[in-house]
């Protein structure tokens, strides 16, 4: 329809939010120095303006990709670093995968920013918030567009930094600081794998360009062992970012950040970066059976485990966090079953309805002053719009026909049925768990009678302002509708069509019985939740006491936090490694430095006796010196 997007416009997608970040930072600095007259609302307008520009350009880019042959627009990469033998270029990779991601990131980001205007309205850190959000959006778009693994890695770490900054946004709170540090350290653990994979592939091929690496892998220039290690290392990074087992522990804690941050970063975009990375290097995974199986196993385990944990959380955002982990597990399991298109399709739909669920949770929090579902209840009467949007998003997540989640989840199940039967059963169990915890969330929050909220001033909850409802309405419309974009297999052709070789990814087949069974399991899950939390046929406490060993294990989150913090962090690192290093530092390094100082002082103590200020001692020294030198001279020249 339109002409092809020029490279400068493509780069502007990334640069607009980064520019907004720079301007807000400088303006805030100027304001703190007493210069200029910028006010906090300006930063929100600037951010929204920049992201709107990004969104418009992203849609143009998507249109260009749809029109282009091979569903990719190629731009010549630019030389960035040239230190022989290391040659790194920087480029904009525009194909089906990145174009879809650009549109999703910009779209969700825009609605979240609009919403944030209301949610963050009275926060003293308003400008800082929007500055970080701009930086994040720019970095995330840059990550998606990167054509080079090193370039990708830079943005990868940048989004990690933004995540850290925004989780710890309310840094006055101890829990927020701890959560930020935890998120940073756990994802860094995975990034270690990614970095070593980068070093390995560079040593083997001398290339960091994604296209060149795929080329090398397809022509068989990379040995299968190297390929498996590379894929494994990249997956370690992806598992850290996408909160996959066993590196998932940071994401529930990350809910300490502001809710719109959770919606954008920890539900829709950054946590999907791991899935995106595996999808980006999908041809390499398709060539390595070991790597593919690893991805499938981890994804399935994560999907079921996080679903179970979601059942016992009482904090509404933590339920959603485990749900996110579980859904990311779905995507990974789909990728591990050669389903590139279903996984990305699910990422696409999930971004909208999960962001909406978080915005709904934020809206509920706005009204009740708490995230604890035990203090909510009956909110459907007070907040009809929030209720409606949340129900739409929840049913989309469960996968009820014809909402968005139905289409994407169904494709994942179909591909798993064809490729790996055990993944299918794991995912089907996940569907049931999803329905159960989402039903529980809905009934606890919106049904029954209001239980008082978080203390004073929240006795009469009220609907959120329009500035928060409008973006939620937009996301709700998308949650209903976006599933239809793949009806004509359009998205699938876009994704598979931009792969370097045909036949790498498998296409799912729609089956009526499969669709019916997944919807049936979903309805069953919601029904069980209704019986327990809606009709209260069986009280939840009774169920808990029947399954008490399981409940106890779940409430301690499979003891993983205890293992990581108690055994590994406190025991192994603090008492072991850190203790040894402290001893080495105190006894070794400090000992050497202090020893030198001590020695100098002792010697000086002795030597200073010589210069006592006694003229007669000096005279004696002179006389002695004269005698000694005379004797020496006479002995040498007799």
């Amino acid at each position: 329809m339109f002409r092809e997007i020029p490279e400068a416009a493509a780069w502007a997608i990334v640069l607009a939010p980064l520019g907004s970040f720079a301007i807000i930072s400088l303006a805030s600095l100027a304001r703190s120095l007493g210069l200029g007259r910028s006010r906090p609302p300006h930063s929100a307008w600037l951010t929204i303006g920049a992201i709107t520009a990004s969104l418009v350009l992203s849609l143009w880019a998507l249109d260009s990709v749809v029109q282009a042959d091979g569903h990719a627009v190629s731009f010549e990469p630019h030389r960035w670093v040239s230190i022989a033998p290391l040659e790194v270029s920087i480029g904009f990779r525009l194909d089906g995968l990145s174009a879809i991601m650009l549109a999703v990131v910009a779209g969700v980001s825009l609605s979240v920013q609009v919403y944030s205007q209301g949610y963050m309205a009275h926060d003293p850190g308003y400008s800082r918030y929007f500055a970080f959000m701009s930086l994040f959006t720019g970095a995330m778009l840059g990550l998606v567009a990167a054509s080079n693994l090193l370039q990708l890695f830079v943005f990868w770490e940048l989004v990690g930094l933004c995540s850290y900054l925004l989780i710890g946004f309310w840094f006055q709170r101890d829990a927020a600081r701890r959560a930020a540090t935890k998120a940073f350290l756990v994802t860094r653990l995975g990034d270690l794998g990614l970095l070593s994979a980068l070093l390995l592939i560079w040593r083997e091929t001398g290339e960091l360009d994604i296209g060149a690496i795929q080329e090398a892998a397809l022509t068989g220039a990379i040995g299968s062992g190297v390929l498996a290690f590379f894929a494994g290392g990249v997956f370690a990074g992806a598992a850290g970012k996408s909160a996959q087992f066993p590196l998932h522990v940071w994401l529930p804690d990350a809910m300490e950040g502001p809710t719109p941050v959770s919606a954008l970063i920890h539900a829709a975009t950054m946590v999907a970066a791991g899935v995106y990375l595996v999808a980006r290097l999908f041809p390499l995974y398709a060539l390595s059976e070991e790597a593919l199986t690893t991805v499938a196993v981890i994804g399935s385990v994560t999907a079921v485990m996080a679903g179970l944990l979601g059942l016992v959380m009482t904090d509404i955002k933590r339920v959603l966090a485990y749900s996110t982990i579980s859904q990311l597990g779905y995507m990974m399991a789909g990728l591990g079953s050669l389903g590139l298109a279903p996984a990305i399709f699910h990422l696409f739909t999930h971004a909208f309805f999960k962001a909406l669920l978080f915005l709904g949770a934020g809206s509920v929090n706005h009204a009740t002053g708490t995230f604890d579902m035990r203090q909510m209840g009956g909110l459907a009467r007070y907040m009809p719009f929030t209720f409606l949007f949340t129900v739409v998003a929840a049913l989309a997540l469960v996968g009820i026909f014809p909402l968005a989640g139905f289409w994407s989840k169904d494709e994942l199940l179909a591909i798993a049925w064809d490729e790996r039967r055990w993944v299918f059963w794991a995912l089907l169990a996940g569907v049931f768990l999803t329905a159960l915890y989402m039903g529980r969330l809905l009934f606890l929050t919106f049904a029954g009678t209001y239980r008082g909220g978080g203390g004073e001033g929240h006795g009469h909850p009220h609907e959120s302002p329009l500035v928060m409802l409008v973006p939620m309405a937009a996301l709700a419309a998308l949650s209903v509708g976006v599933g239809l974009v793949n009806l004509g297999k359009g998205m699938e052709h876009l994704l598979v069509g931009s792969l370097p070789e045909e036949g790498l990814a498998v296409e799912p087949h729609f089956r009526w019985e499969m669709a019916a069974s997944s919807v049936g399991v979903g309805v069953l899950g919601v029904g069980v939740a209704w019986l327990v939390y809606g009709l209260k046929v069986v009280r939840a406490e009774v169920i808990r006491s029947v399954f008490w060993p399981l409940a106890a294990v779940l409430e301690r989150k499979f003891f993983m936090d205890d293992l990581y913090e108690g055994v590994i962090a406190r025991g192994l690192v603090l008492r072991g490694v850190a203790w040894a290093l402290q001893q080495g530092d105190e006894k070794g390094v400090d000992g050497l430095v202090n020893g030198i100082g001590q020695a100098v002082r002792v010697i000086a103590q002795r030597v200073r006796m010589v210069q006592a200020g006694q003229v007669q001692v000096y005279g004696a020294a002179i006389a002695l010196g004269v005698v000694v030198s005379t004797v020496v001279i006479l002995l040498v020249n007799p």
Partner: protein, 104 residues
């Protein structure tokens, strides 16, 4: 027994050594000054002895030098004793160890 150069030199060295010892060991300023005078004279004896045993025109040089040295020694004694007087008036002592105002 013939009195030779060595005898004079031994006398001079003894005088110088005794003077040095005195000036280094005495705490009384007057004693220190007396030691310094002895060292002067030890040097003078040596000079005169060399002049006596040297042949030719240079023989006179040693004696002339000694005359100058005695003159300067007298001036030095006058100044040093004046300092000793001033010190005594101010501090009621001539102990060199206690003249330590300028000590760093």
């Amino acid at each position: 027994m013939e009195v030779g150069l060595e005898h004079f030199l031994v006398i001079g060295a003894l005088l110088f050594g005794i003077g040095l010892l005195l000036s280094l060991s005495k705490r009384n300023l007057i004693g220190v000054l007396m030691g310094i005078e002895l060292m002067f004279n030890g040097a003078n004896v040596t000079l005169v002895a060399f002049a006596r045993f040297l042949e030719g025109a240079e023989a006179l040089a040693g004696q002339v030098l000694v005359v100058f040295a005695i003159t300067i020694a007298a001036a030095e004694a006058a100044v040093a004793l004046a300092i000793a007087m001033a010190l005594y008036r101010r501090r009621q002592t001539v102990d060199v160890d206690r003249a330590d105002i300028l000590r760093g």
